[in-house]
Symmetry: C2
């Protein structure tokens, strides 16, 4: 595969919830993480830490935590806010499907470097780079926050110190099916000229 | 210019604080925003709004707000946390230089769609796409949060309703100088195998 252009990658990013179990070669994982750490952060503080989980037992345990959170609070909320096909997809993923991904990258914030409430613009760009890099190499991925709501339980499972806050869990693997372009409003619906309300 | 690959763009992203005043053609602005809105968001809620500021008077007013914030609280903090060359660069930018950029994209969160405390993973990926897309087209840019701390004053200047929260101001323009690759720790310094503390 030749390297796709930036726009090929960015305009076709999708959330992939069905991934094949085939292992991801380490050089690909490394290329993805090398792109992640090139993201900007406030004063170049680089407050990210990545735990690359491939161990099958750990992945099952992360899936169990995810299911618990899904059942206890996220499921009902999701049921009301997405269509039924999408709900079935998410439901399958949140009740075990996540463990099918051969790699789960748990992206964490080092709160000793930057407090959580100031960290958004210094962490999520790195996660976005990670997702785009995965896509550029032909992998499917997803920005999943649900497992991180397990808080202490996830810290315990992965041996994370107290100052390390898991923020996203990114599954990476070959997509089990190809998805089309993302469904989005045209940018012009959300764009204003100089002042609010002057349509683009 | 041919479209660069994703990795060419991501591995070479830099914060550009000196931009040429040449106007950015509208098709380029549109391509950049079209990439921004392809970013993921929770339940595809797309909580972003973009105000594309090109009016010179408005840019001067945003620069004045930025200078005020810089002088009153950010300057001393920055002086202690970056080296002197970088400080001079930031100081110049924050005390008027920002207005040199021909385009300032104020990226806002629609808090009626998503509350601020849940919005990080649904807004910053779009900002990162915006920065990467600008770079892919040969522009310099920067993820600037400072002007948005002006809060109400920025809302008033741009006529933003109360539920619209400015989160980042992204200057876009041709770089006045070329910058090398970003200075980053190797990803392996921040990467763990399966559990915390197992070096990659």
């Amino acid at each position: 595969m030749t390297d796709p252009t930036f726009f090929d990658v960015a305009l076709n990013q999708r959330a992939h919830r069905r991934l094949l179990p085939d292992p991801v070669p380490e050089p690909d994982i490394e290329r993805i993480l090398a792109a992640a750490v090139c993201a900007p952060s406030a004063q170049n503080i680089q407050p990210w830490e990545f735990v690359v989980v491939r161990d099958a037992e750990l992945r099952d345990q992360i899936a169990a935590l995810t299911k618990e959170l899904w059942d206890s609070f996220a499921r009902d909320f999701a049921k009301d806010s997405v269509d039924s096909a999408q709900f079935a997809d998410v439901d399958r993923w949140a009740t075990g499907g996540i463990a099918e991904a051969p790699v789960l990258v748990v992206v964490c914030l080092d709160t000793a470097k930057l407090p959580l409430e100031m960290a958004g613009s210094s962490l999520w760009p790195a996660v976005q780079n990670l997702l785009l890099a995965a896509r550029a190499l032909g992998y499917g991925s997803l920005m999943a926050n649900l497992p991180t709501y397990a808080g202490g339980a996830l810290n315990e499972l992965l041996g994370l110190p107290d100052h390390i806050e898991p923020q996203a869990t990114v599954p990476i693997g070959r997509p089990a099916r190809q998805l089309g372009a993302p469904r989005r409003d045209p940018f012009s619906d959300h764009t204003h000229r100089d002042r609010w309300g002057t349509a683009w």
